[in-house]
Symmetry: C2
Subunit: 360 residues, 2 copies
């Protein structure tokens, strides 16, 4: 197969980790007979430096024409960089929001998985983890507070700012369907998270999710309030299989869940539209402090490339091969600094990429 | 001193735990020469049963005329109770929102503290807790998504629901001042939590908090994005002293933080207005499953009564006495079921109240 991939190295450690992911993809291509072609576009701080905006129309068009997008990370240290002394819609993160909306990437999948080998890095006690932690957050990504009307106005000398949280039935239905489809391939358990005791949008959310659930009689559906979910994730994370939630709650809960794995450097993500098209990126940020030092953990990006093969190219076997190679590298005791523990072999970004590629 | 306290026993375990808190207050009265007079009002499910609404105007007026309110808990099992098959504004929790707004209780203080004696109950590993965990969340309680305009409408056969998040400078300023005042009596460190990379209301929040901070040169101010905060609470909770945040973020983060103490049955809260008036309640819910069985932990309510003495009645010495009595009971090895561990003495709700009162 011939695949046109747009890469967005972005800022900070982005270029280094994307490079390693492409290395692994190329090895997959070699072994399984595919050609991956890469077209690079700029987004985030590097695009601001070059064009004055975090995402140009041309870059967005190039991404639209590709088969899939592989993103590193965008942004710098907020409040500490030339990129942030400008209007919000000109900052690096605005590029991320613009590409999500521009490519209609409404379904954000964020797996959180605790590797046995990394149990030491997990902040929770063993008895709280129980039989293991393997969940996926299905976050709505193009609606809610992120994209609602907002404005700041002055009345009688007092500034007042407003953001709007809106969802319609169709937006809720399509993300719910994604979550149930994914649950069918997993442990068949969806926990839908909302704040239905307060929000109208959550009450509509609950109603539509209930309707969608009727088409999946095998899947067990539970509703959980967002505050309770934030609590349960710490107390009893093993109970979660698929968590379905709206944009802002998903942002908060996925970061919380990621920490339970002890290593945000291991977590991949996919952002999908209604077709097979998607954007794939690590769950972590651009880590400007360690950029260019061969210290970054490329595994989250490598695993994001595996998600790309699975969701955009139907290459399940090849995706399995990448995931198995990552597992093997961990079993063999190799660790980047962020996941290092006593007795393991410490390696840099590039060597980690080599080690994974060698195991494909 | 003569204090007129309105009690709201509420639903589930509410009546039992309020009874124990009053027992402890009465002992304080005896020892320190105060008179606490109680007037009971109905709120939540019990008010629905009696009057068809979760809070009557008369009940609210009675609360307004009191010196302080002591609340147990309201509500039942959502989706599992006659109280929930009605419009949202007629459900038990609506009473809680109505009294918060009606009494103008804009400042919700939620301490989260890990007792040495309960370290076993904490889900985090010792190395992640570090030198201890003792923080307080200062949550704005009468604005934001909770009280913004909301509506559900149909257009072309598609339902669409909207909630609104609004804050003005004055609302932000008064809660920020509370947080900084509290920080001055603690470790002088405020972390203000927002989502300023997305929300207009968060950008205004940040601006006003910065302005208020100028009046507190001794207090260190940091800003943290809400997703990062959800992560940091799990990874490194010891870094937090005072967390200042808006209503919905405060709801989520305070539940998460409470779990880090391992025992939501220990956590008190205060909701204050601009004067010394306040409503005091445990952070936990009405736990209908264990209601009436002498199993509930009354400590959160007892500690809420201590907060009442401190914030509404300026009785610092008396509040200290209650807190010391609770600490002593734990040191003496007494535990209700929720905080029980091997080797301790298990006691019920009433005995726990007696034990604390006896140590005043
Ligand atoms: C950078 C930011 C706008 C973004 C978000 O809030 O969605 C990030 O936190 C994420 O989760 O991808
Ligand atoms: C019961 C509910 C409306 C309430 C809230 O969301 O504020 C509760 O979760 C709380 O935190 O006091």
């Amino acid at each position: 197969m011939n695949c046109n991939i747009v890469t967005i190295p972005g800022d900070g450690i982005g270029p280094e980790i994307v490079r390693e992911a492409c290395k692994v993809l190329d090895k997959v291509g070699e072994v399984y007979g595919h050609t991956f072609q890469y077209t690079k576009i700029l987004m985030g701080g590097c695009s601001i430096d070059e064009y004055g905006v975090p995402l140009t129309d041309e870059a967005l068009e190039t991404a639209k024409k590709s088969d899939a997008v592989l993103l590193g990370a965008v942004g710098g240290n907020v409040g500490n960089s030339k990129w942030y002394d400008v209007a919000p819609n000109l900052r690096p993160e605005a590029g991320l929001l613009a590409i999500r909306k521009g490519l209609n990437l409404f379904a954000n999948l964020r797996p959180a998985y605790l590797y046995n080998e990394l149990a030491d890095a997990c902040p929770l006690k063993k008895e709280n983890i129980g039989d293991g932690f393997d969940m996926i957050i299905v976050r709505e990504l193009t609606g809610g507070l992120y994209f609602g009307e907002r404005h700041t106005e002055e009345a009688d000398g007092v500034l007042q700012a407003t953001d709007t949280l809106t969802y319609n039935e169709n937006e809720i239905r399509r993300i719910a369907i994604k979550a149930f489809d994914i649950a069918m391939k997993r442990r068949k358990h969806v926990i839908s998270v909302d704040k239905a005791n307060v929000l109208d949008s959550s009450r509509l959310w609950r109603k539509v999710v209930e309707e969608v659930a009727k088409d999946y009689p095998e899947v067990k559906l539970e509703h959980m309030l967002v505050d309770n979910c934030a609590m349960q994730l710490v107390m009893n994370p093993g109970q979660f299989d698929v968590v379905l939630t709206e944009n802002m709650f998903g942002d908060i809960l996925s970061d919380e869940a990621s920490m339970i794995t002890g290593s945000i450097g291991m977590l991949s993500s996919a952002s999908l539209n209604e077709t097979k098209f998607g954007m794939y990126e690590p769950s972590h940020g651009s880590a400007p402090d360690i950029a260019g030092k061969d210290l970054a953990n490329p595994i989250a990006t490598v695993l994001s490339a595996a998600m790309m093969l699975r969701y955009s190219f139907d290459m399940d076997k090849e995706a399995d091969a990448i995931e198995a190679a990552v597992q093997q590298v961990l079993t063999d005791g190799y660790r980047t600094g962020d996941i290092y523990s006593e007795g393991c072999k410490k390696v840099g970004t590039i060597e980690m990429g080599d080690l994974i590629a060698a195991r494909i």
